[in-house]
Subunit: 168 residues, 2 copies
């Protein structure tokens, strides 16, 4: 388990983990996630895309040349679902799927220029809000934010997340 920071047993943690405190955290997640997706959603609407397209663009950009199977695992959806989205992005010239070089069954995915443009636009919209939130809360709060989020992930996803974490 993700064990890092200071820990329990200290008496001060008793009040801390009341259902009431937990409920506030739960609601904060719900409301914050809405804010988190709101700005990209508005942009996507102009293009006739949805969140699924955003996620695909993000992770293709992020893991240059990734395969369809990799993407499936990261996104946690079925191939049919992803395929529908990819088909649209490829048809619109935002994504390119090249036959794999070592294994020709695989398709390596790339963003075209246009794809990179949209990805940048979406990412920047999301960063603006994230940056503002980070600024408002301060560095120490951000560290805590990341720690809690990381501890909240499913184990296998946390591994995926961490493997993506620092490779750029």
């Amino acid at each position: 388990m993700a064990q890092s920071g200071p820990n329990h047993s200290s008496g001060e943690n008793l009040l801390f983990l009341t259902d009431e405190q937990l409920r506030k955290g739960i609601e904060a997640m719900f409301f914050a996630y809405r804010g988190f997706t709101a700005d990209p959603d508005r942009i996507l609407e102009e293009y006739g895309y949805g969140r699924a397209h955003h996620r695909a663009l993000h992770f293709i950009n992020r893991s240059y040349g990734t395969t369809v199977n990799n993407l499936l695992t990261t996104l946690g959806v079925t191939k049919q679902s992803l395929n529908r989205v990819l088909r649209g992005l490829i048809a619109d010239g935002l994504v390119e799927a090249r036959v794999g070089r070592t294994d020709r069954r695989e398709r390596n995915l790339f963003l075209t220029e246009a794809g990179q443009d949209l990805e940048r636009k979406l990412a920047e919209a999301q960063r603006v809000r994230m940056r503002a939130a980070y600024r408002a809360a301060g560095p120490q709060a951000v560290a805590g934010f990341r720690q809690v989020l990381e501890a909240m992930m499913d184990d296998d996803i946390r591994r995926t997340y961490q493997s993506l974490k620092d490779n750029r």
Copy 2:
């Protein structure tokens, strides 16, 4: 990436707000939210319900006797969408809608015994994970977590959130 760091001004914030750091925060939100909803989702499936039902149960439980309009605002969906969900919950005997006493156009919403049972079950599943994450990250991290999430909300939603914050 075309352009990297934002990097204005304030000394210690320099390294802090790189696009890279922001991207990690964005991915953390995405992956953590999946974990956050995973446990309730499994329970809901057994009952043939979806997340929309969970949200309705949560906020009806939370704001005893709330009106449909209040709920709409909190949930951020259309009345038609909410109505479909409420109809199901009422038909299944989990929610009761009583005609308003002061304004008889309004419907006051309550959980029945069965509704409270399911709500408790869902909430506890979600709390288990949240509690584990809080424990793993420690009190200071939790404070930061809450600060950043709050700063990430839309302004009007933050007001709603804060008004719900301490009234119990």
